[in-house]
Amino acid sequence: MSRLKYNHKRSNYLLMFVLLAFSLLFAAGAARATGEAALENPQTAEVTAAAAAPAEPDIEAPAELKIDYNGSPEQIKTLCEHVLKARALASKDLEETEARALVMDSLAQLPIEKLTLAQVYVHAVALGEKRFDMSHNYFNPKRSNVLIAGILLLSFIGYFTYHARQGKDMFIRKIAGLSAIDEAVGRATEMGKPVLFVPGIYDMDDIQTIAGVSILGHVAKKTAEYETNLLVPCTRSLVMSTSQEVVREAYLKAGRIDSFKAENIRYLTDDQFGYVAGVDGIMMREKPAANFYLGVFFAESLILAETGHHVGAIQIAGTAMVHQIPFFVAACDYTLIGEELFAASAYLTREPMQLGTLKGQDVGKFLIIIVIVLGIVLETCGITFFSNWFITH
């Protein structure tokens, strides 16, 4: 019965499920705390009670609605428009059909004789507030499309990651920018000049920075092997301390921990242009032979890349910031465009799990193309439910 034995390799999954349960508990606790806050505070309780009593008068009908209702479709249409724009319903993000249902229902509930549009409006808005009150729900049905799309994409990625664990070999096409890393570090070694790595200007909570830092590990491994100086100026403390850890690890693995210099991985300033001024200065004085710009970049992209080119460095850039890629393409020798930056980790480590996620991404792309073609066909045939499903709230 060895198959029933507890698999210790899976213990982190178990841990995660325990934590998932804990996180739900935590959420419930926080909800309780908020609820208690309103209950336990006598002052607030009084205030809310006073505000709750006259519920309807605070809905104010627009001036142009103070006319008699005559049942014409135009009037119902204007009513719907106004209900959609009502301040009380603004956060609820209603759709046209829902607004129409509100208006029709309030017409049915109100006595028809001597009705003004304003009365219908007030009633419909009050009805809407009650009907679409989701303050006790834990799931927002308007976002179910995000949930379904997310589950779909993540299941693809998860499936291929799982498959990759079985040891299936996976092909990955050549990415020029990543293949050039070794060459660039090698050249710097030959010339006896340092290597400069810029991990972008965002903090560790951005995925691009993390992708950049994981490439830094690879670069550091190379510089450790070749005994070349590696300079990493950072804009964020967290990025600095993470980079120090990553580089130290790489030097440790290469058995060259004595040539690791923590002071080469330094913090300059959180300010975007102050940082650029500092890095430009470092470039002019240290004259690196290989520059890496991997992470999040804004306007500084071109300032860095042009200065780097001026000092004669081989430059490899990578970012997913759509507006900065053109500048890197123009001024750098190799550029990782958008997704290629995220593929780097898999490409460099060749770990089966990482390659699996790449395969999952590719299937996702294929799916996107199919969905677009399908959507165009349906749209051309005049069927709108498919494209409506993609509307985000």
Binding site: A30, E40, L153, L268, T269, F273, R285, K359, F386
Partner: protein, 281 residues
Amino acid sequence: MPLFALGFNFRPVFEAGGGVSTEGIGIWIAAILTLGIYSFLYKDNFFYKFSEYLFVGVSAGYTLVLTFHKYLKPSLIEPLQEYSRDFYHIITGASVPIVNPWMLSWQTHLVGNQFGSQFSFIFWFAVKVFLFYIFPAILGLMMISRVFPNAAWLSRFPLATIVGYGSGIMIVTTLHASVLEQIKASFVSFAPLFHMKGVDWSIIAQSANDFLLVLGLCCAIIYFYFSAEHKGVILGPASNFGIWVLMITFGASFGYTVMARISLLIGRFQFLLGDWMQLVK
């Protein structure tokens, strides 16, 4: 300054009625620093180094001030000060106005001596203070523990928290704001082409543009395909066309941005020529 000889009328440092004008000095300092940074374009030199180091220092100081006043003070220090002061006043029974309404309710409970709900209140109050202030402060202190090499591993907890926050937010917001929105925007309709009466060139042109857009989009997506060589009947030409579309995109974005960049330069020269040299009105 040889420029004085040419009849340039610089911004005076001294006021007309005597005395030093702060604005005048400020403008002179700003102008010198501006020229110092521009001198980098010629070559690295004393003025640039001075401006650069000063800039790094001042902006690091500014970051610290900003972080302290905008983040640390309102979200940690001030609430904790209020809580601890109110707590102290209630315990000692001082007749001082209580800042936080939470504490106020505690006071009423103490006076009313309703034991059951008092316990529940204290419990949830402690949970809230812990979750909102103490726990993140502990995480922050764990970050600082990096200073001691033996305890440096503690900094993994705050790092993991931040990375987890970023990853979680990234999954949902990109799905929400990028994937679904962009797919929706690509659903162009060719219906007008089929309902066209006679030959209407504007509709044909519109449809042709739409077709080109979708074709370019799909081919450019195919360029990013990783798990297959870009060869063969479909993948080869498609990824090639995708590269062309990307290249045109890059060229056009480059050309488009030039205007905004030059506006910045104009702004600086207006300062130099106008505010400082008083040449442009």
